[in-house]
């Protein structure tokens, strides 16, 4: 993806109140968002780190799914059933969440709108399915 587009969209995410930055591992570009508010009392923690893989075909190839800090648990002591185990990335343990869009990715979607989309999963807490 173009460097200028990435910087623009990262800046937009930061302006939207998210602590977002770019990271690279094994040739794969990621957007790391630290301290995303979980927005629901079902979770044991108030903020969580999130990791989103960015295809090099972005923005034609859109964003989908995301990684979430493996420390994220529900108050019943369980992990959310949509969170599946994932390998270490950037030296940290994650779970991966398959959280689909209801509509196709469009050019009006951005890093920021994708963070909102992922945060929607957190907002719904145990009701997310």
């Amino acid at each position: 993806m173009e460097q200028t587009l990435m910087l623009k969209q990262l800046s937009e995410a930061v302006a939207g109140g998210f602590n977002a930055c770019d990271r690279m591992e094994n040739g794969q570009l990621y957007m790391l968002v630290n301290g995303v508010p979980t927005l629901n009392k079902d979770w044991t923690i108030a903020t969580v780190d999130m990791l989103i893989s960015v295809p090099n075909t972005y923005p034609v190839g859109g964003l989908d799914a995301f990684y979430i800090d493996s420390a994220l648990m529900l108050h019943n002591g369980q992990k959310h059933p949509r969170v599946q185990p994932a390998p270490n990335i950037l030296g940290k343990s994650w779970g991966v969440v398959s959280w689909h869009y209801n509509k196709p990715w469009s050019f009006s979607d951005t890093f920021l709108t994708h963070i909102y989309h992922c945060q929607d999963f957190l907002r719904k807490g145990s009701r997310s399915n």
Binding site: N26, S53, P55, T57, G61, P87
Partner: protein
Amino acid sequence: MIIRTSEIIWTQIDQILNRSFNQNRTLEWGIIGVVEKLGDEVFLIREIFLPTQKDLDQSEGGLIFSSPYIRRAQLWAQRQGKSGLVFFHTHPLANDQVSFSWFDDTQEPLLIKNLREIWPGSEHISIVVGKNAYKGRVYLQGERAQDLMKLYVIGRTIKVISLFGNRVQPPMPSHIFDRAKEVTSAGALQILKDMKIAIIGAGGTGCLMVELLRRAGCGNLLLIDDDIVEDTNLNRLLFASSTDVEEKNKKVSVALRANDQCVLENKLEIIDGNVTNPSVLHKLSGIDLLIGCIDKDYPRYVLNDFAVKYFMPYVDLGSEIGIAGEKLQSLDARVTYVYPGGPCLNCRGLIDHERIRLEGLQLQERRRHIGLGYCQDIDIKQPAVMELNMRAASFAALFIRHLVQPFLDQGGEMDFRESITSMTIKKVGLKSPKMECAVCGYKYNFV
């Protein structure tokens, strides 16, 4: 230098200009369009401004476009960041030969000078039209007028108009093509010989297209690919050998070596690169016909987008496999033609954005996403047998002959799919009814 426009725009220009030849053959007619420069060699006419009666004045011995008419076009073009204007006018008494008159030669430089005072750096084109002949020139920045060579009209067929000022009789073709003249006459052969054709992908289908087009008389081919020859390619890659595998030779180098040994007088240029790289894509600016022989959706998207943006005719072809469980359900050879005003590959559902996303992920990351249930078939090997590739390449090469000298009975949309499993030919449908395509803006209300 050449000009390219769409059939839709050309039909409107032609209707205005034909008034000089269909009605009273003393009245000159003219029309102004807007041009956009693509690379160093091509001007595109994207927009025209239809004249009213008061926009054209003939009281001073020649046609003069009114100031408000010119101003209207110039303001629009300048606001849109275009390169300049194109002025068409007729010489009603000219038939098979036409040239700029003394009046044109004296008035036109003044018009250009005036335009450049209010629009510095602009470049303008003038075309004079006789009944059966056209002559064109371009006023480039800081230079005297240069002759233009051709005007390509791209639509359901490709029409090539010579801008040399006379009705050109094509030269007698080489006797090599004697047995093909019924399907490709001397005129069509000359078009194929002059056209610059880019083949993107030098694999199993691309190498066949090079061979077929060379033998169809195409004189200027450009082949683009960045892959090396692997042993699994040897079942279908023409002229490749185990030495090419050992030496890790590029597929384009194999094609070039074969071309150098061929007796046919065509040029083959190669680019070791990928069209998803903007600097490689830019090299397609001067091309007259694109041929896509690629099995990935992102480069296909890039080519489709480029063709739509720059009025380029684009023939996309490939072999496709359908699998349900363990069972092979379909084996298809497909050819699709994209042209300005018609549906593009995206409208036809031939580009899968989910695949584009997965193609853009590194292998490990892609596997994780596939594990989550996304697009299971992305890692399925596409069919790779020469016979199937040949079906698609053969259709595509015949279709390219049709573009320059139409012979197919069936009009309508230019894409079809041959099912080998059912031995039938079917048309590729549009994605869904009553939609507007996000890539080309094509509006369709049928399936």
